[in-house]
């Protein structure tokens, strides 16, 4: 992404402005759109003119009819991508450009940086760069080379959300009468392209009869996800991705649901593991629990059953089925009470006036999969804010068996001093949840004597805008604390737990899976070390790391 930016002083261009986000934020705080410039400072009555060009960040070509918003004055660029807005008293102004088919740099980055322009006189040669969208288009054919219409195409990839890698579907569409599809508005990134012969309207898998059909196929035409080729799309790339689907035999999956005797079997669903949106019709005998799923292509599936026991309590069960080249029989899905995990929150304070009621926490469980969570089936099992009125009333319900990273986020000036499950330190090891009546609890201890860490980020001795991470040592599962600096590079963390930290400053953290220590490993040696005690207030300067 570095190619898209140029930090002042810029070698070739007089000025490059960061676009987007800051201006939106500014609009929101001003709360009023004015057609006149809106100065932040105003020293004299002289007004100045801003001139510049909007260009494609990859080709450098001017972009015509882009909408430039400078200090809330709107103007379209001319045929040469130029704009000229005047009437600006001295001051600082947000400036942005937009155009369908292009992204503002800030949309690609999680960092809010230098996005304001300080006007002291007329300015010319302002260059606003817009990043062109990526396009993936192609044509789906059958084994005879005939175009296939109505094939469900899906573009999926990972997005880093709060430093964690999560699978996401970016877009979905059906092929047209010529078997063609076209995805646009794609940001640079890594994508997987899949084709499934399914009905978009009903969600019922219709690609199979008992004579076989088309399994879910991944670009460039393989039926195993492990063999799929990821598409690395760069800005402005127009990628052609044609591939063929092949009719394969279909199989039958049979089995039974057990464990609800005296109760009632409610639902049994069979979903494809890669794309849970694909469900296959299940024929279910509710009284006996026997089921059959016909027309199943080779692949990996999960069956989810829900039932009620005789008292009306909810029961759940699941089974994973792998279909290779024959029918699968004897699948048993035992339903049982879903696991509930009580979270016991305790507070400790040296301050007699501290309000325990202000200690509310959010608990999030995310699947801890070996290999840094680089798994398409990774889902958050539970997340959400919960009020903890009586310090013990918080329960996470319906947790599926598995291993989870646990994250507890407190509010109101508290930090998490320790997080345990029995004797397991959940800052160092994941939580293991078994089936049925396993008694798992989480104990969180909160304190309110956190430390403050402030500082400046610099490059070659000059202050520089950045995103700053405070990484706690010895607690590999603790998500680093993150903040953005001001445009003068100043940052400040509050309520940090006592401990040893490595502080890192990045020019951008797009695509950085910072909650995963493996992803940070290469950077940790470039950070600044600091040890914080209770109620400490320290200052630190951090050198910028360019990504």
């Amino acid at each position: 992404m570095a190619a898209a930016y140029c930090f002042p002083p810029c070698p070739r261009l007089a000025k490059v402005i960061f676009l987007g986000w800051a201006l939106l934020a500014a609009n929101a705080s001003i709360g009023q759109i004015d057609s006149s410039p809106h100065p932040a400072r105003n020293s004299d009555s002289a007004t100045y003119t801003l001139r510049g060009t909007v260009i494609n960040s990859i080709t450098g070509d001017p972009i015509r009819r882009a909408l430039v918003n400078a200090g809330l004055q709107m103007q379209f660029t001319d045929g040469q991508g130029r704009f000229e807005v005047s009437g600006f008293p001295a001051g600082r102004y947000g400036i942005t450009a937009q155009k369908p088919g292009y992204f503002s740099p800030s949309r690609l980055e999680e960092r809010r940086g230098v996005m304001f322009l300080t006007v002291k006189g007329d300015m010319s040669d302002i260059v606003l760069k817009l990043i062109p969208e990526g396009i993936i288009s192609g044509r789906i054919t059958d084994e005879n080379g005939e175009p296939m219409e109505g094939v469900g195409m899906s573009v999926r990839g990972w997005r880093i959300i709060n430093g964690r890698r999560q699978q996401e579907e970016f877009s979905r569409q059906g092929t047209d009468q010529d078997g063609q599809f076209r995805f646009y508005d794609l940001m640079p990134g890594t994508y997987y392209l899949t084709a499934s012969v399914m009905s978009e309207r009903t969600g019922v898998f219709s690609g199979f009869s008992e004579f076989g059909g088309y399994p879910t196929t991944y670009f460039p035409g393989v039926t195993q996800f492990n063999a799929a080729t990821p598409i690395k799309l760069v800005a402005g790339q127009n990628l052609q991705a044609d591939f063929a689907l092949h009719r394969l035999p279909a199989y039958q999956v049979t089995g039974e649901v057990t464990g609800y005797s005296g109760g009632r079997l409610q639902l049994l669903q069979m979903g494809e593991n890669f794309d849970p949106g694909i469900t296959l019709p299940v024929e279910l005998n509710r009284p006996t629990g026997a089921f059959v799923v016909r027309g199943v292509p080779a692949g990996s599936y999960t069956l989810h059953a829900t039932a009620e026991d005789e008292t009306g309590r909810r029961l759940v069960g699941q089974a994973t089925v792998s279909v290779a080249s024959s029918n699968v029989s004897g699948v048993v899905i035992a339903v049982e009470s879903p696991v509930s995990i009580p979270v016991i929150v305790q507070t400790e304070s040296d301050n007699p006036s501290a309000s325990r009621d202000s200690a509310q926490v959010t608990v999030q469980l995310s699947s801890a999969v070996p290999g840094g969570g680089q798994n398409f089936f990774n889902q958050n099992a539970w997340s959400g804010p919960t009020e903890d009125k009586d310090h013990g009333g918080l329960v996470i319900s319906s947790v599926q068996p598995g291993r989870y990273n646990v994250e507890v986020t407190p509010t109101g000036g508290w930090y998490v001093q320790s997080l345990l499950s029995g004797s397991t330190d959940l800052f160092a090891e994941p939580l293991t949840v078994g089936t049925g009546a396993s008694a798992v609890t989480i104990q969180a201890l909160l304190r309110d004597d956190g430390a403050t860490l402030a500082g400046e980020t610099r490059q070659d001795g000059r202050p520089f805008a950045a995103t700053v991470l405070a990484v706690m040592q010895g607690a590999p599962l603790r998500t680093p604390w993150v903040t953005n600096t001001s445009d003068q590079g100043e940052f400040r963390f509050e309520n940090l737990p006592p401990g040893d930290y490595v502080v890192l400053a990045f020019d951008n953290i797009a695509d950085l899976e910072y909650a995963n220590r493996d992803a940070l490993r290469d950077y940790l040696s470039q950070g600044s070390h600091v040890t914080l005690g209770s109620k400490d207030s320290k200052t630190i300067n951090v050198e910028l790391i360019r990504r």
């Binding site: 009023q32 759109i33 057609s35 088919g101």
Partner: protein
């Protein structure tokens, strides 16, 4: 055979085809599965056989039974080993419209096999696929992406001519759209979108008031129909030939957005509320979008920008006195005439309420609805346990057909009104005065089965229509079906009363809800009086169209 779900978009037909629910005796399982359905898929254009067409067969009785096969080089298909019963067939071939066997709109011919029935040898005609495509650009010639493009089709559906929205798509990054799988006929294309650069959110504060300056980019695109007109009545009809291709490019031109102003009692706690505006593209085919109203002065609210036009506005806001969302108000507004809407005045739409008398007297079941329908828009009010109903949306003036949800086999026997005119099952609302209805309902809808006959032989594929007395005022009582290969048909949920059943060979061009068009067929129809819960089996004589 008919699909039960009534108005379905053309593109949805393919799937709706398989949601058929028709009463049918279960196939005797002891019998040997020795029946078969054979046939040949040909092009309706030149009669040439179509190879590699996918033919799908599904059992009416057993929803789990479905088979598909590809036709051979001579277009032939053969399904063997079938249990006796009725089957529905569908054929699909690249370049042709996917259809059910002898499909006419929502009707098609089911294929019956079993003892005493001839082994079917079908000629399955597929129409070459027509398509309409085009490009949408803005006033600067830039492609308009993500525009909602609507396809309207003027056709004879359920016995009456109507222009209905049959499909909708979204333009891509090149501004292109494509509607495929089209039968020949009359089409219109309309586009609903807003400029990417529009700044219609004025963010007016109370201090700046209504005098706040409007942005030059406070603009909107009106609904635009091919060829660049803003009204469907001025639109160019696209006459699509069988297998033909029509091109319909549109250029959108932004116009200054209009801002609706609402006045209401000055409740200081309300600073904003939202409303839905809907615009009729054609009768009964609305498009809707949301707007936000913000306070610009004491008791004065102004909307975000909307294109000029006539709308039905429905609004909902938090009433602090009542402590809940206030019931939606609905009224007609015209954006572009600086219309000020005074909410302290009663809405110029009728408030409709009523009482129901059940014969015999019963407590009404839950989820029983009384309905007023107009084209494809249906107003529904649930009948309370006290046999009363109130429409929570005001009903604008117009002509409505009265009906019910048929819950528990209940049907409307008669309706009388104060504040509106009633003729048969047609209600005419002419003024904004409140309308009070007195409805009589009874239990026991009947069902008519039968076989369409000519010269004592069953006729396949005939139109069968159940015609009520005074047809002009009783359109909700009509029922229709297409006879299956053994001549059988079913007319479900028949409201007790006197009817004539007519069967017409190839009557698919008949405007059968029009009494004048029906008249010549009625004398040769079969008259019958349907009693509550009545079950009938009749053999109407097939007439020529």
């Amino acid at each position: 055979m008919i699909r039960i779900s009534s108005p379905v978009r053309l593109a949805g037909l393919l799937l709706a085809f398989f949601t058929v629910v028709v009463a049918q005796a279960p196939a005797a399982s002891s019998q040997r599965s020795e029946w078969q359905i054979a046939g040949k898929v040909i092009s309706a254009a030149d009669g040439q056989p179509l190879s590699h067409a996918q033919v799908t067969i599904r059992s009416v009785a057993d929803n789990n039974f479905a088979q598909a096969m590809l036709t051979a080089g001579d277009g032939r298909f053969l399904f063997r080993g079938l249990d006796p019963g009725k089957y529905v067939l569908q054929a699909k071939h690249h370049g042709f419209v996917t259809e059910g066997y002898q499909q006419h709109g929502s009707f098609f011919t089911g294929i019956a096999v079993g003892p005493d029935l001839p082994s079917p040898n079908l000629l399955f005609r597929l129409q070459p696929e027509g398509y309409i495509s085009g490009t949408i650009v803005d006033e600067a010639g830039d492609p308009v992406r993500r525009a909602q493009v609507m396809l309207l089709h003027k056709s004879l559906v359920n016995g009456e001519w109507a222009t209905r929205s049959v499909n909708s798509t979204t333009s891509n990054d090149q501004g292109s759209y494509h509607f495929g799988q089209l039968l020949p006929g009359a089409y219109f294309v309309c586009v609903n979108t807003q400029p990417w650069y529009a700044q219609t959110e004025r963010q007016i504060t109370e201090a700046a008031g209504a005098n706040a300056e409007r942005s030059p980019l406070d603009v909107a695109y009106p609904l635009t129909c091919y060829q660049d007109v803003t009204n469907l009545s001025d639109a160019t009809l696209i006459d699509l030939q069988a297998g033909g291709h029509a091109s319909a490019d549109l250029t959108l031109t932004a116009v200054p957005a209009q801002h609706l102003v609402v006045r209401m009692a000055d409740t200081t706690s309300v600073s904003a509320f939202s409303a839905m505006l809907s615009q009729q593209v054609s009768e009964g085919n609305p498009i809707s979008f949301g707007v936000t109203f913000r306070k610009v002065g004491p008791g004065v609210f102004e909307s975000t920008g909307v294109p000029p036009g006539n709308y039905e506005m429905e609004l909902q806001f938090y009433d602090p006195k009542a402590g809940r969302q206030q019931k939606a108000q609905s009224r007609a507004v015209e954006a572009g005439k600086d219309d000020e809407i005074d909410l302290s005045e009663p809405a110029p739409s009728a408030a409709v309420s009523g009482t129901v008398r059940f014969i015999p007297a019963i407590k009404p079941p839950a989820h029983l609805f009384f309905t007023l329908s107009h084209g494809e828009s249906v107003f529904a009010a649930e009948i309370s346990s006290h046999s009363e109903f109130v429409f929570d949306r005001a009903v604008p003036p117009g002509q409505y057909e009265v009906g019910s949800s048929f819950t528990g086999g209940l049907f409307v026997v008669s309706v009388t009104a104060t504040g509106a005119k009633v003729a048969g099952r047609t209600l005419q609302i002419t003024s904004p005065d409140p309308v009070v209805l007195r409805v009589v309902m009874a239990r026991g809808v009947g069902e008519i089965k039968g076989t369409a006959m000519r010269d004592s032989k069953p006729v396949s594929g005939a139109l069968v229509v159940l015609v009520p007395l005074d047809p002009a005022n009783n359109t909700p009582l009509f029922r229709a079906d297409q006879s299956d290969s053994d001549g059988t048909f079913t007319l479900p949920s028949v409201v007790p009363g006197k009817y004539t059943v007519v069967a017409i060979d190839n009557g698919w061009g008949l405007e059968w809800k029009n009494p004048a068009a029906l008249k010549p067929y009625l004398p040769h129809g079969e008259v019958l009086e349907v009693a509550p819960e009545g079950r009938y089996n009749i053999k109407p004589k097939v007439q020529d169209f």
